[in-house]
């Protein structure tokens, strides 16, 4: 191979890999991401049935009930609206009534959110940013709750 051919072969191969990777990234971005929605968004019909998304807000006080087989029912609220959630499994340590929570899962036809994952945070003073934003939108945000310890 001449110098030029060698260079072309290398550049061509690099171009091909970059092209394939970009395609892969775009494909993954179109299908593998989860939107964050507040209970108000869900009640307003922004989430389609069966769509995988994140639901966040506060755990409504008095809404936690447990069933056999580690099934937990609770409700997530942003002050304006409430969405009922069902989850099977161990809840994170910081899961409490009135605490901020982020859950991942799908909405069924009856409007029940079936969570596959309930996320916990390291710090009890830390409020997921999405949750605090959603609460602010509903005017239920008390600033001292999210400020530093």
């Amino acid at each position: 191979m001449t110098r030029k051919q060698k260079r072309l072969a290398v550049i061509g191969a690099i171009g091909l890999v970059l092209f394939a990777a970009t395609g892969l990234i775009l494909f993954a971005l179109s299908g593998q991401i989860a939107f964050f929605r507040s209970p108000s968004d869900v009640v307003a019909g922004k989430a389609k049935t069966g769509e995988f998304f994140r639901l966040g807000g506060l755990v409504q006080p008095g809404s936690i009930t447990r069933e056999e087989g580690q099934v937990v029912h609770f409700a997530v609220t942003d002050g304006a609206q409430v969405v009922k959630v069902v989850y099977r499994g161990l809840l994170p340590d910081l899961f409490r009534e009135g605490q901020g929570v982020v859950t991942e899962g799908r909405l069924d036809a009856g409007g029940l959110f079936s969570a596959t994952n309930v996320l916990a945070k390291h710090d009890e003073n830390y409020m997921p940013r999405e949750v605090s934003d959603a609460l602010k939108q509903q005017g239920h945000w008390r600033d001292e709750k999210g400020s530093k310890p």
Partner: protein, 657 residues
Amino acid sequence: MIVEAGHFALVLAFAVSLFQASVPLWGALRGDAVLARLASRAAIAQFLLVALAFAALTYAYLGSDFSVANVFQNSHSLKPLLYKWSGVWGNHEGSMLLWVLILALFGAAVAVFSRNLAEDVLGATLAVQAMIAAAFIAFLIFTSNPFVRMSEPPFEGRDLNPVLQDPGLAIHPPLLYLGYVGFSIVFSFAIAGLLLGRVDAAFARMVRPWTLVAWIALTLGIAMGSYWAYYELGWGGFWFWDPVENASLMPWLTGTALLHSAIVMEKRAALKTWTILLAILTFSLSLLGTFLVRSGVLTSVHAFAVDPERGLFILMILIVFIGGSFALFAARAGAMESGALFAPISREGALVFNNLFLSVATLAVLTGTLYPLLLEALTGAKISVGAPFFNLTVVPLMVPLFLAIPIGQKLAWKRGDLAGALSRLWVSAIAGLMGAALLVYSLRGGPVVALLGIALGLYLVLGALDDLLDRALRGGNAQILNRLFGIPRSLVAMTLAHAGVGLMVIGIAATAFETEKIISMKPGETTSLGAYSLTLEAIGPESGPNYHSIVARFSLRDGAGPIAELKPSKRVYTGRQMPTSEVARHRYGLSEIYLAIGETSEGGRADLRAYDKPFVLLIWLGPLLMSLAGLLSLSDRRIRVGAPHRRIRASTPQPAE
């Protein structure tokens, strides 16, 4: 008093770093060796001052001096000594001080170990290092001062976040910082090289050991963090594609690429521009990571309570350093001579292949990490990019790279023989597949992808070791041992590091064969778990120094009888009234039984999450082997820091400094 001295030392360190950033640089650029030489002493002085500040903060923590706001917020007088000590960096201010300490440490280390460098290179490098230090010390002093006193000192502290009260935290952040702050010195070398217009094979020679040191620490730090998350968070997972994990993975990927491209630059004087670019990119990604973690712009399990002012400050540092270095690169890169030619199929070609895939994988991780920020800024929509995205993009990029590793190892420089390399590898490939099939058969079923993953891992291990055996056996059976020990250490290191990748791949693929059980149990009940049976014996309260806990006592039996007692628990720390789970594990071979309990309700039931995880330890043993291999390579005489002049220097007495 000591706390104020620490504060004062930090301010002094800032002044020293300003001096170090300007005067020696001027000397280096004007060819004034006397001025350039001042950099070494300044770097050592700067390090001593920062170390003094760090020692002062540690003193305040060890003595539980709650008049210092930082200590009050993150410590407790009843906390065990180890956690009082590790609590120094278990918070924003302290961890930034550690960041600066390590930055100064690398500057001082270069000043001490690289005395044989040309004065202008050393001067300019340390000056660039001091610019970074000045920026971050200013950040500490103006936005995150750890030495602030409280007007009315309280009697008791608020305790360290319980999740962070673990021996893992004593080691994980320092290692991680040693890694990604360590790349700062490589960045400084690159900028100095560009400024002075001297980027050659000698440059690669002096940069490689430092790259290696940072890479070893980063590898260990990431593996340690992953292991810690595995046993502390109680989910049994080892990698969550959390933005903060990604922030440490990105410099690791480009750092690994840099490690490989520096070899080409050193041996063949090729890929100069690219190597410099990688050096700049790696540290830029470290800075980006610091920004992402410290500013709180991303939702992450690692987020401390955040302050927008700090985020803005780091963003400014980020823009100045990344922007400045890329501008300099753009202006100077064209002037570098292009290096020696090589055929696409050659050792150089293989290393370019490695660099290409590692860089593209970095691009994928970067996209996934920053896309939510971008989308929210543009449209206001909030999204999360999680494991599915990264698995779909990074895994397909890693597979061809891993397949190519043993091939690349066998190609010659300049012009390689692909057919020859492949013919030597088919044995490894077939052995790998057969081993995987056998393993999966013994573990009863499992997805095909996992089988291929295990085969890939075995192929990597065998393909790497094959190289060593081949060298030892070449030319008859006599003196095999002699030949084996005659193999250069850096070559053995390469082989071991690649085998480490293989072990990790096996460990990750084997997670497909784990058994998970989520059940609720009463004392006296028994459940099966893999080949074992698990009985809940009792549930009861216990107390620790600064917490109360509810402990569930399980006994684990196999066919023959009881083999272990496991006590997972739920703790509530009195300082913050915050609950945490403590998991219990039983190791057998490279596998583990893993138990975590959830709610314990009235009637004495405990919610249990139990796993049987085959070969799970390989996930961390692989990276451990990779870093040990790095250490071995570092000990190779040929690339040791400052090797050529060391012996002569050591024999002449040095004046006290």
